[in-house]
Symmetry: C2
Subunit: 477 residues, 2 copies
């Protein structure tokens, strides 16, 4: 906490790194592009995991674990897939002191190894659907890396399902995208736009990819989750066949879907300010911090006793921390916990004890405006209420920010200007050429073709040809 955080207006990218390092979410590891997720960052990840895992299980999924090391030849079984991933592979060539007969790749994603197992497990329609998710680490040799957003190794979950019909698989694809959307909005307080990826931007090996896209504090887009429909593409590559109810041999229909530790980067950028992190209460490792204030030993004794009672009363329903450290002043602690993004601070001093009250200070509203006093006997209800309010206010603020920075360009000049300043929803003919031209000229890419479409679309803003859909253009992480 000793160092200063670079203001966002000065250098957004340095602000981002400053916040992560100083809030101790993560640190750089000795291997290029790798990071250490420190306890505070990992606690955030644990809360994200739990909130997602609950949703996966509620929709009928189970977890499993597949090997880290994949025979190199497996990657080559699906042509598009290997083309997409081979430049990013980390390869194990030696094991137990000897050179391996066949090199093993460290999984960049697990379609190949998982489908090899499904081919072994699936025999009849009775074995379907398979609804498996995996929590795991993956490695992709990235050229340019950034903490949480793009790291050589990252943590994620990857769902891999197999179904008896195309309809069922497509339903699953969209169901899980919707789980991600609901999770992002409810738990992360992060509004997202859901839609389909263009053919250029889809996952290597998928027939169709879908994503949720969020606007970060610098108005750039971040892909926060993806869900893919594979049809029978991988099933044919790996020979996953089943006897259907008519006793005919058929290939299964598949999906995969994932989110990763990059969600932590999204949390930083969607809500953070120049003081540091602002964490949504539902995911914050510490929802409430109590800072006792005293001048002498006698006051200290009284205040710590009262603070301890406040902690005890809240701890059944709230993740609460009492900061009773001797070696730091209250002011230092205020700054420290603000930087760490704790949603609510409780201040308690001798005067407060006299008045049977505490002071509540909201992280999302700095200074006096965010402070209220709370009578001691309303403690539990007021804290619960405020945490709910903070959660919904964070969402509303992020949504307002996105709306204020969203544009609807009607021609190419307007598009070019729009993507300098935020999201641009524009008519697009669907051609890869128009997409490439926009990318070349403006660095903006098609993020997704949103499910929500206007009644009238108009001609393509790039080529003027008829367009059936609007697409979201933005510069992206």
């Amino acid at each position: 906490m000793a160092e200063k955080i670079t203001p966002r207006s000065e250098d957004y990218s340095r602000w981002y790194t400053d916040v992560i390092l100083q809030a101790e979410l993560a640190d750089y590891a000795p291997v290029k592009g790798c990071m250490v997720i420190r306890p505070y960052g990992y606690a955030l990840w644990e809360n994200i995991q739990q909130a997602l895992d609950r949703r996966f299980k509620a929709t009928g999924h189970v977890n499993a674990y597949f090997p880290l090391l994949i025979p190199e030849s497996y990657l080559r079984k699906e042509a598009e897939h290997v083309e997409g991933f081979s430049p990013e592979l980390a390869v194990v060539t030696h094991g137990g002191g000897k050179e391996l007969e066949e090199p093993l790749v460290v999984r960049p994603t697990s379609e190949t190894i998982i489908n090899a197992m499904y081919a072994k497990w699936v025999r009849s329609w009775r074995d379907l659907p398979i609804l498996i998710n995996q929590w795991a680490n993956v490695v992709r040799w990235e050229m340019r890396t950034r903490l949480f957003l793009r790291t050589t190794e990252f943590l994620w979950q990857e769902g891999h399902t197999a179904h008896a019909t195309a309809e069922e698989a497509m339903e699953e694809t969209l169901r899980m995208l919707n789980v991600y959307k609901e999770f992002a909005e409810t738990e992360m307080a992060m509004p997202v736009i859901a839609g389909q990826k263009s053919m250029t931007e889809k996952f290597a090996g998928a027939l169709a990819s879908y994503s949720i896209e969020a606007m970060m504090g610098d108005k750039r887009a971040l892909q926060a989750g993806t869900s893919h429909y594979f049809g029978q593409q991988f099933a044919k590559a790996f020979g996953i066949q089943f006897l259907n109810k008519n006793n005919e041999l058929e290939y299964v229909y598949q999906t995969s879907w994932g989110v990763s530790t990059r969600l932590i980067g999204a949390l930083v950028m969607v809500h953070g300010d120049d003081q540091g992190l602002i964490l949504p209460p539902r995911l914050a490792p510490i929802q409430v911090v109590i800072v006792p204030i005293w001048r002498d030993e006698e006051q200290k004794r009284l205040v710590l006793e009262a603070a301890g009672q406040v902690q005890a009363r809240l701890s059944a329903t709230t993740r609460v921390r009492l900061d009773d450290r001797d070696e730091y002043s209250p002011g230092w602690k205020f700054n420290d916990w603000e930087m760490k993004g704790v949603p609510l601070r409780i201040e308690i001093g001798p005067k407060d004890i006299e008045n049977a009250q505490v002071v509540l200070a909201r992280r999302d509203i700095p200074g006096r405006e965010g402070k209220t006093t709370c009578p001691m006997d309303a403690l539990e209800s007021r804290v619960a209420e405020l945490l709910t309010t903070i959660q919904s206010d964070l969402y509303a603020r992020a949504l307002r920010f996105r709306e204020e920075n969203t544009f609807y360009p009607r021609n190419y000049a307007e598009l070019a200007e729009a993507v300098e300043n935020g999201f641009a929803f524009a008519a697009w003919c669907g051609s890869a050429e128009c997409e490439a031209k926009v990318k070349e000229d403006t660095k903006a890419t098609t993020r997704c073709i949103p499910f929500e479409q206007p009644a009238e679309v108009g001609p393509c803003v790039v080529c003027g040809q008829p367009a059936e859909k609007q697409v979201l253009f933005a510069r992206a992480y």
Copy 2:
């Protein structure tokens, strides 16, 4: 479930593999020595994780995540450590299509990478203790592998702590060993013997290692958890120094401790029988399975309705599954869930509905003896009671089995015979020569020097020289 499980008496090792494959705990992966943990096995691991993680957090620990890939040079910083692990390393030599300047090893354990970070994070006594745990995958290139017990890749947790004093670090070492012991006995219903490893058997780089040792169904020992005291050995190798309260620079004192997915292998072998798994209720993914019995459609409707009510009543407090599959007979289902080790089965048919009752069948007591009827209005309490009873009966049975197969040899001939038939507690002078002779002659190793020692020890059973301690000799996994 189609195949037969080899009886234990015929071939214990095949029985073990049969149970794991047929109960779908795990499967072989295409890479030699690797396995897939299937959903049923992974659900067991999730329950183990939760029960342990709760205990780690209750003792002040936090989770974090450190990189999978470690520069090869880091391993060499601690001489004993690299000697112990270098024969087992998997090495990444290529990344992103290029040969790496320095090869990276896939972590076999994380002391080196974690201590490199601690050297960066620790400055003063205020930064101590560091009480970090990591849930992760590790890779050790093993020659002979066996599902769960010894696999090239496995899942585990590794705690790594740093302290200001030797006393504190030693306290931590023993505290965590004790957490493991309590966990094994309470949750796994598995009695264990806790003690110190001999110098030959200790962890590479530790000053002292401690373990818990359990007796499997074939009377062999399995090391179920270890806790290590490092003193300042790694701190010196990695330069982890802090300013103590006297403002002097000092090296930290450290520990590490871990358990792995091999615990699942232990569960199989401690409790299982010729019908398959027997899972302790506290860890069982499914604690109660309801098998409805009907002959015609009218009965089916009635029975399924009643079974659904039973499920609903139990589901608030119990992990319960209703097996309403049409395509299998009740008898087939009985066998299937017995093989999968579900602790309690509820049978419900038309007669039971008439009599307002269900039949409860204990997995740990086969046949009629384990069956009771339960009036419908006592359902919740009787099920809860029975699950508790099964848990403690499993523990008692495993303890009795161990005691019946534990011997106290007074001379070398008795020792040699004892280790053929179980555990042998025997006086040992402490010399590596005597230890080596026993291993050479009998294949038994020193498992640990138990904390609980008899009042009088007697002379070393190998060399006849004076001995201060008894040691546990056994053949081990």
